[in-house]
């Protein structure tokens, strides 16, 4: 069961992953729009004061998917030129599924601060909700670890990766994706 959650790529194929990934992308974007959440980076989730349009969230998710997909494909090609693009598409679509549901944490808009909120107001909120924030932090950490584990396992199956070279290329792809997505969403 644990293997199914961490590495479904060994058993199931793109015929399941692509429709599932696309459906949850749309559902996750709807939830994020409803909960004022932004996915403005590969590993980013920020709650905003104003509502965010569904199409804006879809755009953010699609950019994140294209960047990580392209870089993982490139890294995978350097490991094994026989890599199939469809396997990387499946991997990135499935790996982000847990991340979308983090938006639900702001369903009551508790984490949405007004843009003119003072530091004192934010500090007071943090002190009053310290256990909630710690719980959320822990949950985010677990979900990010799960997402990266899914990305790596999908990458490993797609490339038949062995040894340290694929690990280094995978880490490079993740770091570069985070930088590139930030540059796209927040250009100089």
């Amino acid at each position: 069961m644990m293997k199914l959650f961490l590495n479904p790529f060994e058993k199931y194929s793109e015929k399941i992953f692509i429709p599932l990934g696309l459906s949850v992308l749309l559902l996750g974007s709807f939830l994020a729009s409803f909960c004022s959440a932004n996915f403005d980076g590969l590993l980013d989730l920020h709650f905003s004061a104003s509502s965010v349009s569904f199409f804006e969230i879809v755009y953010q998710n699609v950019v994140n998917l294209i960047i990580i997909g392209a870089l993982l494909y490139l890294a995978g090609y350097l490991v094994n030129p026989k890599i199939r693009a469809i396997d990387i598409v499946s991997t990135v679509l499935v790996a982000r599924i847990p991340f979308y549901f983090l938006a639900l944490f702001n369903i009551s808009k508790k984490f949405s601060f007004k843009e003119d909120a003072t530091l004192q107001e934010i500090n007071a909120f943090a002190i009053d909700n310290i256990f909630l924030l710690l719980g959320f932090g822990l949950l985010v950490l677990l979900i990010v670890i799960w997402m990266v584990a899914l990305l790596y396992n999908g990458f490993k199956v797609a490339t038949n990766a062995k040894g340290s070279k694929p690990v280094v290329l995978f880490i490079l792809a993740i770091v570069l994706s985070e930088i590139l997505t930030k540059l796209i969403f927040y250009p100089f």
Partner: protein
Amino acid sequence: MQKLPVICPSCATTLSVSQLTCSHCETSVSGNYLLPVFLRLTLEEQSFVMDFIISGGSLKEMANKLGKSYPTVRNLLDDIIVKLNPTTK
């Protein structure tokens, strides 16, 4: 049936065949014959190769039969190819 040993337990060199016996009349043939390359594979790998041949070389059919994804089955095949022909690594 016991698994045929193919690696020397003393020095890890691939073993060769020195004697073959007819189970019917017990005639023995002695010599020094190379083991078929197929025997370097584990029993699971031999079974995989047999199934692959029987399925007409279709990885999709193999994936369905084994209940695994296409890239997983392709990886199994790639690992066998490397094992049989290490220069392809």
